[in-house]
Assembly symmetry: C2
Homo-oligomer: 370 residues x 2
């Protein structure tokens, strides 16, 4: 194989497809980027068994071929070059020489590219379109409440449910539920997909914020395929039935408060200073007419703050994990947020009238306020 | 104690004096910032026994007093405030309340400030002046070659030698020596000081790049005092006699090369990609007429590059730790650098005709080049 391309293109392609690489993987091949040059097309691919990212770059192919190179070293060598034009050429025993005007003989020990799985064959007949911006946003607005624990595959994934022209994304981790709805431009057949959180997390980092660029999402053979720009991301779907979240969401409430979102976040962030990570100490909300009082007290300091609020219904005192509330509040755009409460043992719901988001957070029991 | 000051001033003062705090210290008091308000002067001080940083801020003193607060939490609370004006007030049992317009009751458990050593009394009669820029620069140009190993206190310190109007700073770690000379504006009495590297490292991070602002350096009672802006840094001096580096520096050479500094750094940085940290594998220099060839080969890749050079004297092949050479080359400003060699077992010297810097680096033996 012998190709010539631009340093910037190579660097960005390596960065994109390296997102598939699982550094904890013991399979050596998974730390590699596969460069495949044939029929006028140069692609870089990396994969973690059920998760594959491929990106295509511009360049000249002087000799077709396929070589696997360790991603870390390939990246470092490309970055170290100060010239724009870079040539990558495979020699005897897969030894691969990387050349630019000022660097003649940087070489990496390559691996046989034919041993390496590239992009699996995929069928794109069943597909829908959404802007890169919208997909990135709906992932970021929900992904924080998946479980980091891989042992529960449903909780570490997200539900993507399509009904006509509505896409509903749900995540939950046993302490909270995040639900987001957006309208698609066209109506599609109804379907329920469960997508691994890892794939969505990495996908959201590659997607641009561009509302004018589309992602084509295709479903085939228990795989989901995201095509955008020069990049294709393929993930295995998760088998099974997702949680029936509609059953878990109550619409009745005893107390409803409307509060400035930024002020509430600021106060909760200050409260978090005094709660160690992993500590289950709650922040205590005391909600009365026109006021939300927030208290926390630990060995290292305390907070006792008031935030003006509009309240309807009963007074309530309730404890929460400050981090969970902050993450949900950050996922909302509105200046004022409305929060519904039932009682101090029941979850609260951050939601709006248009019903395009619901964030449920379970309370934490507390003994005394002090 | 009750003071009112600006958030930005407090935040910057905490950041500055926290540089004295040794996070590995087991003495709790050392994690504290002491706020001392009296006679119209508000100072923040932190110390690590033999190393003290004090900085003075603007503000109003409503009630004089002295309180010690944990630096981490004080910093986080001040940062979390969104208002400019901040009041810090000590209540019963040293409990200290931090208030701004939007935050009424953040409180930290303070400690009795009278238990806490602030700035020691210092004598400033024996002093000299140098710009903040020059002091910061000469530290940064030498500090990289002190030994990180605290067990050899001389090697983990720097020698500051003043002879008339010349300041010579020397550091060495057993593998290399860095020597820098600058002219002072006036002549001072001759003296030799040994200053702990830790103090110089932290000092260089606080100093500005301003050539118009001066640092006043005073010596008294085995202490060195740096006064600049609103800040005072005091460090214990190291007892003992520093190494006689003049005996270690040879002026004869068998080979002299002149080479573009940036090109050499770029090439050595690329070579370093293939050498693991802590690995003693050398980069091999083969210096012939008009050419410096640089080679390295490891399991993860190889480099074999040529850099144009002017050479006088014998051809030479010699191995070096790439990191050591790169650090010395980065400390030099010149576009072209001159390097002197004696033989493959003797150190090389990066130096200029004006003799205001000498960087000596010991070679590494190598068996074969391959």
């Amino acid at each position: 194989m012998k190709i010539t391309s631009q340093k910037a293109d190579l660097q960005s392609a390596i960065a994109i497809c390296s997102r598939a690489i699982n550094s904890k993987s013991t399979l050596n091949m998974h730390d590699c980027v596969l460069i495949d040059a044939k029929d006028g097309r140069i692609s870089l691919t990396a994969s973690d068994s059920d998760f594959v990212i491929e990106t295509v770059i511009e360049g000249n192919i002087e000799e077709s071929g396929r070589i696997a190179l360790e991603a870390t070293y390939l990246d470092k060598v490309i970055r170290s070059l100060k010239d724009n034009e870079v040539t990558i050429e495979t020699k005897e025993n897969y030894r691969t020489v990387i050349t630019s005007a000022s660097s003649k003989n940087a070489a990496l020990p390559g691996k046989d590219g034919t041993d390496f799985n590239g992009m699996p064959p995929v069928d794109r007949t069943d597909s829908l379109k959404i802007s890169e911006f919208s997909l990135k946003q709906i992932i970021n607005q929900t992904i924080f409440s998946i479980s980091p624990n891989d042992s529960n595959v449903l909780m570490s994934s997200e539900s993507f449910e399509i009904k006509e022209n509505v896409l509903r994304v749900v995540s939950l981790d046993g302490h909270r539920i995040s639900i987001r709805k957006i309208f698609l431009r066209e109506a599609y057949g109804n379907r329920k997909l469960i997508i691994p959180g890892k794939a969505l997390n990495e996908l959201s980092r590659i997607l641009s914020d561009d509302t004018d660029k589309d992602v084509e999402i295709s479903m085939s053979d228990n795989r989901i395929i995201f095509d955008f720009g020069n990049t294709t991301v393929v993930s295995q779907l998760v088998d099974g039935t997702y949680f029936d979240v509609d059953q878990m969401i109550m619409t009745d409430y005893e107390t409803k408060v409307s509060v400035n979102r930024e002020a509430l976040i600021e106060c909760l962030e200050r409260a978090r200073i005094f709660i160690r990570d992993g500590d289950s100490k709650p922040v205590i909300f005391s909600i009365t007419d026109n006021n939300v009082n927030i208290k926390v007290k630990s060995a290292v300091g305390s907070i006792d703050d008031d935030i003006p609020a509009q309240k309807t219904g009963k007074d309530i005192m309730i404890g929460f994990n400050a981090k969970f509330l902050v993450e949900s509040l950050r996922a909302v755009d509105d200046e004022e947020v409305s929060i519904d409460f039932v009682n101090s043992k029941a979850p609260c719901y951050i939601r709006n009238d248009e019903d395009n988001y619901v964030y449920m957070v379970l309370p934490i029991n507390f003994v005394n306020v002090d």
